[in-house]
């Protein structure tokens, strides 16, 4: 490991309240969960922080349950636990599908939903699902709790509204009765970062979200409005291709990503036969 472990401090709270007090006292603490992003940075010597707050032992943050009709998923729920949750599988199967395509089993056993969101990569595979599910991000500090609509959570590339003294404690997903669809396009199924990742919810208020095509995950509101107004999937595909703002990078080109977005939306149309 390029970063010397002896130079790193780890604060180990005994409860969520304890953790919130620690981070209120020292907002420079970086929370750690499954460490599948943090240790990649430490191994490479690119992670700037040296003081960490250990969330991993906080069992209260692992719970997945139904609250007031919404499914509440603790920030520390792993990608494996989410796939195995009957509540997720029956209500939001596209979230289980996204978690199934994150890394391999070793990564899914440790990587958490909170980490995937807080890490803020525009390629995070669960992000488009949370965007179309109209999830609420529950942020808590020692003094208050804030509930942020997922679509307002990211403010720019890896920038979020989370304040340094807040932790993500949970995500709440309202019931989804409409048809839902998810597709990740990468080099291979496992261990590949998405070139394009799309989630769609059908019905009267269609929702389309895409990852890896802009500095953050985006909801394609013009495409959604066109679909709601009765546009064909061919028409909507042309709109989505103009609405995304992909870049050329080492994984793919902007043109390819645009084309894939259009094709995926057409695929949603044929597979769900509106």
């Amino acid at each position: 490991m390029r970063t010397a472990a002896a130079s790193l401090d780890l604060v180990r709270p005994r409860s969520v309240d304890d953790a919130l007090r620690s981070i209120a006292d020292d907002p420079s603490l970086a929370p750690i969960a499954g460490c599948t992003d943090v240790f990649v940075g430490l191994n490479a010597g690119t992670f700037a922080g040296t003081r960490f707050l250990d969330l991993w032992p906080l069992e209260e943050l692992r719970e997945i349950g139904i609250r007031n009709g919404a499914i509440s998923i603790g920030a520390l729920a792993t990608h494996t636990a989410i796939q195995e949750s009957p509540a997720v599988v029956s209500r939001v199967p596209i979230l289980a599908a996204a978690c199934r395509e994150i890394g391999g089993a070793q990564i899914q056993n440790r990587g958490t939903l909170g980490g995937n969101v807080a890490n803020g990569s525009p390629a995070g595979d669960t992000l488009p699902v949370l965007a179309v599910a109209e999830a609420v991000v529950v942020l808590r500090s020692a003094t208050q709790e804030r509930r942020i609509p997922f679509t307002s959570f990211f403010t720019g590339y890896r920038q979020t509204v989370r304040r340094p003294d807040e932790l993500i404690v949970a995500f709440e997903l309202p019931p989804l009765d409409q048809v839902q669809w998810f597709r990740k396009v990468g080099t291979r199924a496992a261990q590949a970062i998405s070139k394009v990742v799309m989630a769609v919810v059908g019905g009267e208020r269609p929702r389309v979200a895409v990852g890896s095509v802009a500095p953050t995950v985006i909801r394609c509101t013009r495409t959604e409005a066109a679909l709601a107004g009765g546009a064909t999937f061919d028409e909507a595909s042309r709109i989505v291709e103009s609405e995304v703002q992909p870049i050329d990078d080492l994984r793919s080109t902007a043109d390819y990503r645009r084309r894939v977005c259009g094709n995926l939306l057409r695929r949603f149309g044929t597979e769900t036969q509106r």
């Binding site: 490991m1 472990a5 002896a6 790193l8 401090d9 780890l10 180990r12 750690i32 499954g34 460490c35 599948t36 240790f39 990649v40 430490l42 191994n43 490479a44 960490f52 250990d54 991993w56 494996t80 890394g103 391999g104 089993a105 070793q106 990564i107 056993n109 440790r110 199924a189 496992a190 261990q191």
Partner: protein, 140 residues
């Protein structure tokens, strides 16, 4: 800190953010767990943490405290998977082998080829090729 590795209590003096990989190889003197990429991609460092395969290069030592760690040394050398890898030519340089075997331990009894592919999706081999590895696991 106290660890339980392969059923044995161990006391090691390592900072809490040390990689479990280094704790095992250096502090516990168990070099069977290999380092390939050091970034979670190759699976060579796979060990079981409370029975679940994880990449030891991405686990801080603190998370192994009060957990049960199993490494390739814990299988003793005569485990059916170890024999099958030898019999079916499933190892060449052998760097990936301990990780492949540890990942395969999470499989249900009588797995299908698809089960094996999914369980080993996070393990990379640069020399043997995957057919011999899958064959060994299916016949173990």
């Amino acid at each position: 800190m106290r660890l339980r590795v392969n059923g044995r209590e161990m006391e090691v003096d390592a900072p809490p953010m040390t990689r479990l990989l280094d704790v095992l190889r250096i502090h516990c003197e168990l070099p069977g767990t290999k380092e390939g990429c050091g970034e979670g991609e190759c699976g060579a460092c796979t060990v079981l943490l409370d029975g679940e395969p994880v990449c030891a290069c991405l686990v801080p030592a603190a998370h192994a405290e009060s957990a049960e760690v199993t490494t390739i040394e814990g299988l003793g050398g005569e485990h059916p998977l170890q024999r099958a890898f030898a019999e079916h030519g499933a190892a060449q340089c052998g760097i990936c082998t301990p990780g492949m075997i540890m990942a395969a331990l999470a499989l249900p009894p009588s797995p299908t080829l698809d089960d094996v592919r999914v369980a080993l999706a996070g393990n990379i081999c640069r020399c043997t090729g995957y057919h011999a590895i899958y064959r060994a696991i299916l016949r173990a």
